[in-house]
C-alpha cells in the first residue's frame, strides 16, 4: 500500500494500466451494447424493457463499489495520513456520484413502464438516494473549508460514517417490502436470471468497471498535479 504513496510510482503504474484499460473500455462497451440491444432476447414478462437492466444494474453496482473505494481510501487517509489515499477518495467521489445518479434515473425510467411509477419511497430507492447525497456531502465538505487538511478530514469522516448505508442498500429488498425486485444475480444459490441475459449484464458491468479505472486515473493525476501546484505556490510564497 505504501509503495503507492509515492506519486511517481502511482503515475508509473497508471501509465502502464491506462492503454489496456482504454482498449478494454471500448471493446467491452462495444460487445456489451451489442448484446444488450440486439444479441439478447426480450424478457417473457418485461418484454424489451428488460434492456434497461443492462445500464441500470451496472450503474447501481458501481455506485456502491466506488463508495467502498472512497470509504477505504478515507480510512487510509485518516488512519495513516496517507496523502495519495486522501486524493483517491476525492478523485473517486464524482465518478461514484455519476454512477449513483444514473442508477436512480435509469431505475425511474424502468419503474414507470414496469411498476407504473417513476419513484416509491421504499428502502431500496431511498437508501440509494441517501448514497447520492453522501457523495454530494463528501464533495461539498471538500469545498467548504479553506484549510485543505481540515476539509479532507471532515469529508473522510463523512465517507466512513456513510459506509453503514452500503449493507442497508444491499439488504433493503429483503428487510422491507418493496416494488423493487430482490437480488437475482448476487445470491448464495446462484443467479436466477437466464444466461442469455447474464452475458450482456456482465459485459456491461465489466465495461463500467474499466471505464471507472480510466476516469479514476485521469482524476487522480489531476488531483496529484493540483497538490504539486499548491506545494510549489506555498514554497514560492515562503521566499
Amino acid at each position: 500500500m505504501h509503495r503507492f504513496a509515492n506519486p511517481a510510482q502511482f503515475n508509473r503504474l497508471a501509465d502502464a494500466v491506462m492503454p489496456w484499460a482504454m482498449v478494454a473500455t471500448v471493446l467491452l462497451f462495444g460487445a456489451g451494447l451489442y448484446y444488450a440491444l440486439a444479441g439478447s432476447p426480450p424478457d417473457y414478462q418485461q418484454g424489451e424493457s428488460v434492456r434497461v437492466m443492462y445500464v441500470h444494474v451496472p450503474a447501481a453496482w458501481m455506485g456502491m463499489f466506488v463508495y467502498v473505494v472512497m470509504a477505504v481510501a478515507s480510512f487510509a487517509a485518516l488512519a495513516w495520513r496517507h496523502p495519495l489515499a486522501l486524493l483517491a477518495g476525492k478523485a473517486a467521489a464524482p465518478i461514484g456520484a455519476t454512477f449513483t445518479a444514473l442508477a436512480l434515473i435509469t431505475g425511474a425510467l424502468w419503474g414507470k413502464p414496469m411498476w407504473g411509477t417513476y419513484w416509491v419511497w421504499d428502502g431500496r430507492l431511498t437508501s440509494v438516494l441517501v448514497q447520492f447525497f453522501l457523495y454530494l456531502g463528501y464533495m461539498a465538505l471538500w469545498k467548504s473549508m479553506e484549510d485543505e487538511e481540515k476539509a479532507g478530514n471532515a469529508a473522510s469522516i463523512l465517507a466512513l460514517v456513510g459506509l453503514v448505508n452500503i449493507p442497508i442498500i444491499k439488504f433493503s429488498v429483503d428487510w422491507w417490502s418493496t416494488l423493487h425486485q430482490p437480488a437475482s444475480v448476487m445470491r448464495l444459490d446462484g443467479p436466477t436470471i437466464d444466461g442469455a441475459m447474464l452475458v450482456p449484464l456482465f459485459l456491461m458491468a465489466a465495461a463500467y468497471q474499466v471505464y471507472f479505472t480510466v476516469v479514476f486515473i485521469w482524476r487522480m493525476k489531476f488531483e496529484i498535479n493540483n497538490r504539486k501546484l499548491s506545494v510549489m505556490r506555498s514554497v514560492d510564497m515562503g521566499h
Partner: protein
C-alpha cells in the same frame, strides 16, 4: 437493423435510459481528461518558471 432498433411500446423509456447513461459517462470522461491535461500543462509551466528564476 430495423428490428434491432424496434424496442416496442416502451421504446422511449429504454432509449432515454441509454441516452442519459451515454451522455453522463461521455461528459464525465471528457471533462476529467480535459482537466487532467490542463493540470499537466500548469505543472510544466510552473516548473519552467522556477527554472527561469534560478
Amino acid at each position: 437493423m430495423a428490428e434491432f432498433l424496434d424496442m416496442g411500446k416502451h421504446a422511449v423509456f429504454i432509449w432515454t435510459a441509454y441516452g442519459f447513461s451515454a451522455a453522463a459517462l461521455v461528459v464525465l470522461a471528457l471533462r476529467s481528461r480535459a482537466s487532467q491535461k490542463a493540470s499537466e500543462e500548469q505543472v510544466a509551466a510552473a516548473r519552467a518558471r522556477r527554472k527561469g528564476d534560478n
